[in-house]
């Protein structure tokens, strides 16, 4: 027991070892977190009135970020599938870092949900047994279950693998494989349930379309892996972790198919809405062309569309995706594109026009943006600290004490 505690401190100490650049980075993140926390204190004091949300558009930037990040978390599966099912070695090695990203993304999701709540101290009411979870009727209850389940699965895999490595043991495939097999459908489920959360509301025609869940998955498989391609390049530059180019190019190829699928589904949606032209197409019109002179989202969604289409061709052409300048450009394009499309571009048109026909134009306020930046900084910090521990264990630099070693 004692050496367990000791090992915990060895791991903790790891956080404080670093170059000047590392301290600057952490300091910068802490500064952003502080800004976010101070803006949040104001929100806790005065209420959600400091945001741009109102009764007409009752969800905004927070829930948009939440939706985007569920996709990022689900995308870890894209690495897992080829690694374990097709036994593609170069990716297998780096699945760990993808799962750490999934853990971070889920932590950020939970933060975004909590900061969106009017009564965050009552969050326990949603839990089974001690609270009164409305399961199975409420899709939000389902979402709580699947997100926390996903967090638990990924944490278990990562913790077990890292702990085995850190005490110098080989991890047992008989433990890891069943968990990974479980995590694949589970990753699909978190994004499907999040899509159903919107999809099931007959009051909101924009969301009440069967194409929503497939589009959620397709877009998640664009942005999540793109983030990973960028992160892997940083990781291998800053540490001794070896990540083969081949692995990155394989991921890029998979992104190309995902964007293709996402654009096809978008086309199907555009056709149905505009050709049939019933009143249910109004949110779509508002999003892409504006409605009754109100057009806050129009420049954003066209930016997203152009970025996504450009990224599609960059990922599709082998020459472009195997050149790091164009590859990274494509990654940034598709991340921003999906962030707009699956963020504000998904949440806000659900409320515009509202159920009584009013067009309320929502824009996030400064405090709302500061709080959001704070959560992103918290996410970046979580990932940085996780890597700070995981990388030396992975490369064999950090080893824990065990009884045998002492004896």
């Amino acid at each position: 027991m004692l050496f367990l505690i000791k090992n915990f401190f060895i791991a903790l100490k790891q956080i404080f070892i670093g170059s000047k650049k590392y301290y600057l980075w952490v300091g910068f993140l802490l500064f952003l977190i502080l800004l976010g926390v101070s803006a949040y204190m104001d929100q806790a004091e005065r209420g959600l009135i400091i945001t741009g949300m109102r009764d007409q558009v009752s969800w905004g930037f927070y829930i948009s970020n939440f939706t985007f990040l569920v996709g990022v978390a689900a995308a870890a599966v894209l690495l897992v599938i080829p690694a374990y099912i097709y036994n593609f070695k170069p990716i297998k090695e780096i699945v760990l870092f993808g799962e750490l990203l999934a853990i971070t993304a889920i932590a950020m999701c939970l933060l975004f949900v909590v900061i969106d709540m009017g009564q965050p101290l009552r969050a326990w009411h949603i839990l089974p047994v001690i609270g009164s979870m409305n399961f199975p009727a409420s899709l939000l209850a389902w979402d709580v279950l699947v997100l926390n389940g996903y967090l638990a699965i990924n944490t278990s895999i990562v913790f077990y693998v890292l702990y085995s490595l850190s005490i110098g043991k080989e991890y047992k495939m008989s433990v890891v494989v069943p968990l990974i097999i479980l995590s694949i459908p589970w990753a699909v489920s978190i994004h499907t349930v999040t899509a159903f959360l919107y999809n099931g509301l007959s009051a909101r025609p924009f969301w009440n379309a069967s194409i929503l869940a497939p589009r959620f998955l397709a877009s998640a498989f664009c942005s999540g892996p793109a983030i990973m391609i960028l992160l892997f390049q940083i990781i291998r530059k800053q540490s001794e972790v070896k990540i083969e180019d081949r692995a990155l190019f394989k991921i890029a190829e998979l992104i190309a198919y995902a964007i293709g699928m996402n654009l096809f589904l978008l086309g199907a949606e555009v056709f149905k809405e505009f050709y049939s032209g019933s009143i249910h197409s109004y949110p779509f019109k508002y999003l892409y062309f504006g409605l009754h002179g109100k057009s806050a989202l129009v420049p954003w969604i066209w930016t997203a569309t152009i970025l996504n289409i450009t990224a599609f061709f960059l990922f599709l052409l082998p020459k472009a995706r195997e050149n790091f300048t164009t590859l990274n450009t494509a990654c940034i394009f598709v991340i921003i594109g999906v962030y707009i499309e699956k963020g504000l571009g998904l949440v806000v048109p659900g409320f515009v026009p509202d159920t009584l026909g009013e067009i309320y134009e929502y824009t996030p306020t400064t405090p709302e943006v500061l709080i959001t930046i704070g959560v992103w900084a918290a996410g970046a910090l979580i990932y940085t600290l996780l890597l700070k521990f995981a990388v030396p264990v992975y490369t064999g630099k950090l080893r824990f004490e065990t009884k045998e070693l002492k004896a």
């Binding site: 401190f9 404080f16 301290y23 005065r46 209420g47 959600l48 009135i49 949300m53 109102r54 009764d55 007409q56 009752s58 969800w59 949900v113 969106d116 709540m117 009017g118 009564q119 965050p120 101290l121 009552r122 969050a123 009411h125 949603i126 609270g131 009164s132 979870m133 409305n134 009727a137 409420s138 899709l139 939000l140 209850a141 709580v144 959360l197 919107y198 509301l201 007959s202 009051a203 909101r204 009143i279 109004y282 659900g350 409320f351 026009p353 509202d354 159920t355 009584l356 026909g357 009013e358």
Partner: protein
Amino acid sequence: MHINRRTFLKGAALGLAGTALPLNKADASFWEAFFQKHFREMNDAEIKKVIQRLEKEAEQKYKKAIKIGNEKAIPGVSFGYGLDLSRCIGCRRCVYGCVDENNQSKEPQIHWITVLRFKKGEKFSDLEESERYYNPREVPEPGYFYMPVQCQQCEKPPCVRACPTKATWKDPDGIVVIDYNWCIGCRYCMAACPYGARRFNWAEPGRKPEEMNPNTHYLGNRPRYKGVVEKCTFCIQRARNGRYPACVEACPVGARKFGNLLDPDSEMRNLIERKRVFRLKEDLNTYPKFYYFFAYGR
């Protein structure tokens, strides 16, 4: 940079203390409120105790006695509402009567009833061409007609299904109610409601003590909190004591009707029998108990 273990542990301890709940609020009332059970899981004695605490809090806040009732649904009663579209003149007196009765926040402003204005002969039933901020010198305006909308007390309420904590439910007399002490303020119900009936307290409700109606119900017009959802309850504090909702009484043209749908001799049953009634957004299968109708010869 070197941090020894002692300073680190000290820092960690301070950090943990900082994240704990505010200690100055840690009086008994705060914790009692924090651990308050779901309304439907409390027995009568527990409810009584909670109501005593809430009445004390309300008295401290508004410097006057506010009675919080807990009248239960009367067996054999299912409330229904009728609205005569051919009579409504769009004066919004129902809106103001409702605010006076139900203790809504005035700053920021919360209304439970929305009156929509439509141009005669234009699109109507899909509500897309409606205007809710009309502000003429005089009503009714020539060329327009009006339709008030409030909670439709659906038989199959989408909001109740959406709520992740069961903080809102349909009572046996058909009124959809909210436990303001159990709502977590996630606003999923607002996304689910097809009638724009639910209102959120974006800030601390602002209302002067002299404007407070002291006759309240736990599930209705008692003082609310910042960060919870509220809505029309057919004036549960009145309806369960055999009175008309405030909007029915406020209407100067008698466009609003109210009664027990299970009583064959009630005004509501007579109306459904003799007029042509319809309900809003019938295609969504929410089965509202709010009936709109057109009278003959007017």
